[in-house]
Amino acid sequence: MKVRYFAWVRERVGKTEEDIDLPAGVATVGDLVDWLRSQGEGYAYAFENPNVVRSAIDKRHVRPDARIAGANEIAFFPPMTGG
């Protein structure tokens, strides 16, 4: 599954995207965030306040309780500031 990062989440993680094999027990976006936080300093920093980071599955906004099964692409990013 492809995971993409944008803006300061991307800077803190240190990459724009990566392919991740979902570990057992990761069923929701929130589970994935918890797992990512354990993957090193950059991830821990990016998700230090997980309530701030927004997420999307296959280019649609989702909440942390959204299930990942069947997803091709998950994205994490800060609150949006376009327009």
């Binding site: 993409r4 944008f6 803006a7 300061w8 999307a56 280019k59 649609r60 906004h61 994205a75 990013f77 800060p78 609150p79 949006m80 500031t81 376009g82 327009g83």
Partner: protein
């Protein structure tokens, strides 16, 4: 309804976009144009430019979903949204929203609705490039709670409360 959504690095020309939207049609009685422009300051500090990052495929999809929601609420005849990304200097346009309808009410309301949602839901992020010797000092613009409040007023619960008053 004619719908145009374009994400681009280049500047846009509002007059050209209006001409493209209305063309030779004679059923359109109102076109509202909203242009978001890069200011020369952010939080009271002078800036050299804004740099906009975006999530390309999702941005188009998300804008399209909100245009569809607008179309279901108001009798629109056309919508054009052009959103720039990359480096944008003060005075340049960032975003253009055109809404067209037979009468003005629908076009005014839909333009506001679309901008409120673009601000809070379209995946774009602004970064400030400071001036002078601080140009390496890049700061992400923080989302405003007032933008969330503006978008929330269009949700059904809010509309119901307003109607009940």
């Amino acid at each position: 309804m004619s719908v145009i959504v374009r994400l681009q690095r280049e500047a846009f020309d509002a007059a050209n976009e209006i001409a493209a939207l209305t063309g030779s049609r004679t059923d359109i009685g109102a076109v509202i144009t909203f242009t978001g422009i890069c200011r020369a300051d952010e939080n009271g500090e002078p800036i050299a430019a804004l740099n906009l990052e975006h999530y390309p495929d999702m941005a188009e999809a998300e804008i399209g979903r909100h245009i569809e929601a607008a179309r279901q609420r108001w009798p629109l005849l056309g919508v054009t949204v052009v959103h720039r990304y990359g480096r944008i200097a003060p005075g340049e346009g960032i975003v253009l929203v055109l809404t067209a309808s037979s009468h003005r009410e629908a076009a005014f309301a839909a333009a506001e609705f679309l901008m409120d949602y673009l601000k809070t839901r379209a995946p774009f992020w602004k970064q400030v490039e400071k001036r002078g010797d601080k140009t390496d000092d890049k700061i992400w613009v923080e989302a405003k709670a007032s933008d969330d409040t503006a978008a929330e007023r269009w949700t059904p619960a809010t509309v119901k409360r307003e109607t009940a008053k």
